[in-house]
Symmetry: C2
Subunit: 217 residues, 2 copies
Amino acid sequence: MTKKKIAVVLAGCGVYDGAEIHESVLTLLAIAQAGADYDIYAPDVDQHHVVNHLTGNEMPEKRNVLIESARIARGHIKPLTELKATKADALMLPGGFGVAKNLCTFAIDGAGCKVNPDIERVIKEFHSSAKPIGALCISPALITKVLGKIEVTIGQDEGTAAGINQMGGTHVKSNHGEIVTDHKNKIVTTPCYMLDANIMQIAEGAKNITEAVIKMI
Amino acid sequence: MTKKKIAVVLAGCGVYDGAEIHESVLTLLAIAQAGADYDIYAPDVDQHHVVNHLTGNEMPEKRNVLIESARIARGHIKPLTELKATKADALMLPGGFGVAKNLCTFAIDGAGCKVNPDIERVIKEFHSSAKPIGALCISPALITKVLGKIEVTIGQDEGTAAGINQMGGTHVKSNHGEIVTDHKNKIVTTPCYMLDANIMQIAEGAKNITEAVIKMI
């Protein structure tokens, strides 16, 4: 039997300006532990900005999302333009501010945000091919912006939940490690570091969402 | 009962010029899952260089080891100058080329390498306080340079093993997930990505070494 293939899209390397590293690594681990394979993709675009993760201040630098994401992927990564729904059985999006700054502009523009055209196309292709999509942390905001009427969770943050409802989605509150499944749209979401979580709770959330996504394939 | 505290030292953020990200995250996870706490430290020094992880080429940039390590630590990190052996029950060093480029110069100078004075002091303090040290991947080369006559593993790479023996250590071959324990010196080592490993094997190695280190406290 061929292994199931999951496409994982990263948004950089670091919680404040890229992909959240723990969520990314623990999603990759959960995919492997569930007996599936992964391919990693990221858009070949400049980051919105670069944040010094020690101080939280912006740094006067430019970094590229694909090149920085390659750090998490150990070099095994492809540009997002190469990802088609035919290339994988499911799509997974770890979180981190990069999702809301580099893949879309939700962190800056809220419900009126713009979406990177490649991730928009990829999300629509997987959805219209009835292939499951798993979104961690803040990523549910991105897929709600693209797909509109879906049911998702980002945990308990009221501002973000309101933004999701404003974009046409339905927000469902959740706690550490819990997943919310929109069976009709084959979408699974989990809050991870959108709650004040520890690394074990991230591992639990990544495991739960990955198993649910793979079961839906 | 107070939780056991493990000091984890990072060497940047990315396998080719910093701390190996999977090894770092999975070590933190293993510590938490073993019921212990961690504090994360890194030296406040420039990286040896910056590597584009997509192409493997050097980039004309400067990055700081503490600031980049803060990405893995989600900002919860302290300068290595603040780490004393009195502050933790054990020391753990994930791998990545940063260990052999930023913490010491083994990747460039081999057995004749220089060692960052803070990590040298820290390793000596933990060793002389009879507090256990766990070293993953290439980190055993660093601790051998500092401590000399110890027994360690970096897996099966003959060049690196020869370097370890040249620095006064004794190299023991090992396979995926295996640990080598020097009981007399309270040192535990495991090969991780010094072998051609997958992410599950890294998780297994990180779990095994962490449990062995904590048992020795």
